[in-house]
């Protein structure tokens, strides 16, 4: 996903401007100048904080940033905030310990009857899953196509797992230790992407939004 280079948001009376930490500084300044002049009145009497992420700014660069806002009326405070590298890394290390990153298997094909995929992580299938085929994942299952087979997400017992498909017309869905099947008889399937997850101890299928 394309990340916004510059983000504006209001927080606790401050206008927080977040600058992308990887983009070249001169590009960033150019962008910023353009945005600032376009929205001059927006900055009146604003207390501005500039978040630069892990980027290390030289004295000159800081000057340039401040100058960008200097021409604006009624500007009160400018603060430049840099993420602390050290603590950041530690945070990340802790995160890894608590939540080991699950890997994802990408499958660029259609699964036919009798074929099955099992993976110790998430599974993304770019294709259909036909009736009689089986997808078993420790994590989530995403099908970029029509899902007509049997899926088991969160196979180690995690009810947090989800199953998403462009068209969800399953024979049977299993999430963690929950199981559900398609109703008997003719079923009308909605013509939009759906997501299955566990809510209140049962598997619930909802429209996929966002």
């Amino acid at each position: 996903m394309q990340k916004d280079r510059i983000l504006f948001k209001w927080e606790a009376g401050h206008l927080i401007i977040t600058l992308d930490e990887d983009l070249r500084f001169d590009y960033l300044v150019e962008d910023l100048k353009e945005k600032v002049t376009k929205a001059k009145n927006f900055f009146i009497n604003a207390k501005i904080k500039i978040e630069v992420g892990r980027r290390e700014l030289s004295f000159e660069e800081k000057e340039v940033l401040i100058d960008t806002f200097a021409s604006l009326p009624g500007l009160s405070v400018i603060e430049i905030i840099r993420d602390d590298m050290q603590s950041n890394l530690q945070d990340k290390a802790q995160n890894i310990e608590h939540e080991p990153e699950t890997s994802t298997l990408f499958l660029h094909r259609t699964l036919r009857s009798g074929q099955s995929v099992e993976y110790d992580g998430n599974i993304v299938i770019i294709g259909d899953v036909n009736p009689g085929a089986e997808v078993v994942a420790k994590g989530d299952i995403v099908v970029m196509g029509v899902f007509r087979g049997v899926a088991h997400a969160g196979v180690d017992g995690s009810n947090e797992a989800t199953i998403v498909a462009f068209r969800l017309q399953p024979t049977q869905l299993r999430i963690g230790n929950k199981i559900c099947r398609a109703p008997d008889g003719e079923v009308k399937h909605p013509n939009n992407p759906e997501i299955a997850s566990v809510k209140d101890d049962t598997i619930l299928i909802e429209d996929l939004r966002n």
């Binding site: 259609t110 036919r112 009857s113 009798g114 036909n130 009689g132």
Partner: protein, 263 residues
């Protein structure tokens, strides 16, 4: 110039593999091609019966593989077309009497001699099926508009892909447009959507086929039968002609005839 080996298969039994083999073989021969049919359904041989050639069998495929006779000795010439031959299955043995390597060898030997070698596969996915597809260049899957047949066809397509037989084609057999229209039978689009392979043709359900298989006269030779025309069209598509799908809607006259019991 080497010919092509086609395997006719389905997974499910009773969908019309043998009838299709007999009709495609006869149709191809009618157009002047040299054709050999192989019945790979060892122990349950039928193709000879459908072709009306049962009483001419002396040697069979197992005799060839075991070296009891030469390949030419086991090939039975068709009654109608000199360019059409049948290699019959053994009836007293089972599928393990032949292995895939022997089958592939047999196919490559036959395709030196013939334009088309058509292998009639047994139902199932076990050794008989594996033998049947061993030498195939191209696969034709026969299915009927039933959920179970389509399911099995899907399974077979997956297995063919795994064996490296790319782009199989499907024939939908025994369709009844009147039932499809009422929503009581799967329609062609539904089936093709699931199977996601090329449609080679559609054969309507036809009582005349029952008669034709019982008398050993392939329906493709009967120009008055819609099913015969359908097989003829499929044959033309196999040799690379562009033939549009024929309309299977019942004409008004026929409908009337059927209502008053004339057809």
């Amino acid at each position: 110039m080497a010919g092509k080996v086609l395997v006719i298969t389905s997974g499910k039994g009773g969908v019309g593999k043998t009838t299709t083999t007999a009709n495609l073989g006869t149709g191809l021969a009618k157009l002047g091609n040299k054709v050999a049919l192989i019945d790979a359904d060892i122990g349950l041989r039928n193709l000879d019966v459908v072709m009306g050639l049962e009483n001419r069998i002396v040697y069979d495929i197992v005799d060839v593989v075991e070296g009891n006779c030469r390949l030419e000795q086991a090939l039975i010439k068709d009654k109608r077309y000199n360019s059409l031959c049948l290699l019959p299955a053994a009836q007293t043995r089972d599928k393990t009497a032949v292995n895939p390597d022997e089958m592939a060898e047999l196919c490559s030997e036959l395709k030196e001699e013939f334009d088309y070698v058509i292998v009639d596969s047994p139902a199932g996915i076990e050794q008989g099926f594996k033998n049947a597809i061993a030498g195939a260049d191209r696969a034709i899957i026969v299915t009927t508009p039933e959920v179970s047949a389509v399911r099995d066809a899907d399974r077979i397509i997956g297995m063919l892909e795994a064996e490296g037989i790319k782009e199989p084609e499907v024939i939908i057999n025994r369709i009844r447009m009147d039932m499809v229209k009422k929503g009581n039978m799967m329609d062609i689009d539904d089936m093709i959507e699931i199977l996601a392979i090329k449609l080679l043709g559609v054969v309507p359900d036809d009582e005349k086929i029952v008669v034709s298989t019982n008398t050993g006269e392939p329906i493709v030779l009967n120009n008055n039968a819609k099913s015969g025309q359908a097989f003829d069209n499929i044959v033309r598509r196999i040799i690379g002609e562009e033939v549009p799908l024929m309309s299977l809607d019942e004409g008004l006259v026929n409908k009337f005839k059927r209502m008053i019991g004339l057809a």
